[in-house]
Amino acid sequence: MRRQAWTTTLVAYAFLAPALVLMGLFTFYPVLYGAYLGFTQYTAANLGSGEPPRWVGGQNFALVLRDPLFQTGILNSLKYLVVVPILQIASLAVAVLVNQKLPFMAFFRAGYYIPVITSISLAAVMWEWIFQKDGFLNWSLRLIGFFNQGGQFNWLLNEHTALWVIMLVTFWRGFGYYMVLYLAGLQAIPGELEEAATLDGASPWQRFWRIIVPLMRPTILLCSLLSTIAAIRVLEEILVFTGGTGGPLNSTYTALLYVYNKSLGLDFNYGVASAAGLLIALVGFGLSYLNFRITREDRGER
């Protein structure tokens, strides 16, 4: 027994070795170093002069926490979480839809994956047109009598709507991505189970909730966790649709935009950027923990 535990450990580490070596060197080390930078003063000047970072303790954290812009950013990033459940349920439903054995399904699957590989800066041109004052969204809403000509506005220029329509773009970019993950997960569900349920007279709705969802728990955890982290760290859409300003009136200024502007974007103040990044990570850890709890993951280990 003892001997077996030893061999198992040895085998486990042998399997882990390539990933751990590479991650250790190129992921853990820079991430730890980045975390250390959060406690130092470190700017582009250090790069030029070769001067090492200077320890300043919790000064950066205090500065970031006091910055109203960072508070706005965290708040907006938390708002962005709204997209997660909608995106996940829709992606799973779409995956179930294209998992059927009907003609042309391969075509639809490929079609739904297109947003994932479309260049966002070019896709933005079309989205801009949708959200414009005389754009497609207003036109459709008017068609169904939602409001009259006078009530129209540019959705990206209104501080009450901008963040939400950018979320729609995130939804658009994401559902094909998660669809693929869910499709992969669906292949692991034995077909007989579903057939049996159909014979027992279960409606598609019941089959979805009683068979697919429970059996897909590991995949659902994977997707919801990734989606949550992506939402709290949303940046690219904001850069494209607001030119990196987080406007109008900071209504789309997200937490990571703060980090971006402090580091790569403008300031090159890596100390402050790292401190802000660590604070966001704290929020991320809390949310990840929630994800693990909600999906009640079981471990089928030896």
Partner: protein, 408 residues
């Protein structure tokens, strides 16, 4: 393991580039100007007696690339960047001041206004290269519909605004799209002859009644929907897209955009006429200028500065702007070359001619300030709030000045 990796790495490193003697970097000029830089590099090889390497980088992430090069200890010797980028990097201490590296006679060759744009806290951080400025373009179809005479365009900004109002009132199409997003209003102040700082550059002073009145003018225009609100978010891009779609009567534009317009919508290009940009009380017009900077950590700073000076000398600047046909040199001698006073028949040629007239008053109006990110954001947020009616013009400018003065 490491040894093997290195062996594989070396095998895969097809022509590793460590042996370069001198390297310069340009911003998004390849492959369009390969025919210019090819011979230039050959001449540079002879001039400096070592292998000179040219690298062109896209605008995206060029600063990070430079920083990574600085961090790795092998930055390029001379880097071509725009004024905003150079001022930012200079502030962060990633660039070498050039005053001590070059003699006064060399610096005398450049236009003083151009040098000033790259000076931060008394030190010069970039040797000016080419500049591009603005002209005014008119969609004559729209003008005619509004009953305006295209052959007699307005020569002042208030005149353009009057035309824009007429166009909107008569046709329902937007007349013009002012470039006032982000920190561009700082340029609008300077063009109108309104100061940004006091004499000693110790205090921001752009909350005087005259400044407030200028901002108020645009607030009123916005309120009456005389310009598209989208320019507040996307600036020139929004203006260009509207103009290209035939939904804008007048546009303030760089001559280098005319060939693009010719392709993007030939029909609009055909009915476009051009005029010089009006000169306001400030006697200046924004002229975006690129310059060569020398990053910290180069092996031989003196030689790197000489490379930058050689790249921007009379001969090379003149040749480059002749090649582009839409830009202008920033050395005194090259700028006065007769080439830039010659016109032509197409609207693209006319655009260059008009730009050369604007260029007499051209200057890069980017304002160097410490803590640029924070100060610029305060400026942008408050102007935006004022334009959209969340704050009064006075309140907005007072708030910005307060933030600025706390940092200057």
């Amino acid at each position: 393991m490491k040894k093997q990796l290195l062996a594989i790495g070396a095998a895969l490193a097809l022509g590793g580039a460590f042996a370069q003697q001198l390297e310069f970097v340009t911003t998004s000029l390849a492959p369009t100007f390969n025919d210019f830089f090819g011979p230039l590099v050959e001449r540079a090889n002879k001039q400096f007696g070592v292998a000179v390497k040219w690298t062109d980088l896209p605008q995206n992430a060029i600063q990070q690339r430079i920083l990574a090069g600085v961090a790795a200890g092998n930055p390029p010797d001379a880097v071509q960047l725009n004024s905003t980028q150079i001022l930012e990097l200079a502030q962060q201490g990633a660039l070498l001041p050039l005053n001590d590296l070059l003699d006064a006679a060399t610096l005398k060759l450049y236009q003083p206004a151009a040098l000033e744009a790259f000076t931060y806290e008394g030190k010069l951080y970039g040797l000016p290269d080419y500049a591009s400025t603005r002209i005014v373009a008119f969609n004559t179809d729209i003008l005619k519909k509004a009953g305006l005479d295209p052959s007699n365009p307005p020569r002042t900004i208030p005149g353009i605004i009057e035309w824009a109002k007429t166009i909107k009132d008569k046709t329902g199409i937007y007349g013009f799209a002012p470039l006032i997003s982000n920190v561009d209003f700082l340029k609008a102040f300077q063009e109108a002859g309104l100061p940004i700082f006091d004499e000693k550059r110790k205090k921001a002073v752009f909350n005087s009644p005259a400044h407030v009145a200028l901002l108020q003018q645009y607030i009123d225009l916005r309120k009456k929907d005389y310009f598209p609100e989208d320019v507040m978010r996307r600036g020139f891009t929004a203006a260009y897209e509207l103009y290209t779609a035939g939904k804008l009567g007048i546009i303030i534009i760089g001559p280098q955009f005319m060939p693009r317009l010719e392709k993007d919508n030939n029909a609009v290009w055909k009915v476009t006429t051009v005029a010089p940009h009006p000169i306001g009380a400030g006697q200046v017009v924004q002229a975006s200028t690129f310059a060569y900077a020398v990053p910290k950590g180069v092996r031989d700073p003196k030689r790197a500065a000489q490379l930058a000076a050689w790249l921007t000398n009379d001969e090379n600047q003149l040749a480059f702007s002749k090649r582009t046909g839409t830009t202008f040199p920033t050395t005194v001698k090259a700028a006065s070359d007769p080439f830039f006073r010659a016109g032509g028949n197409t609207v693209n040629d006319q655009a260059r001619l008009m730009a050369s007239r604007t260029m007499r008053n051209g200057k890069d109006l980017t304002v160097p300030v410490p803590n640029a990110a924070e100060l610029n954001k305060a400026f942008k947020d408050n102007v935006e709030a004022a334009i959209f009616g969340q704050k009064t013009a006075k309140q907005a400018l007072d708030d910005i000045v307060k933030v600025w003065n706390a940092n200057l």
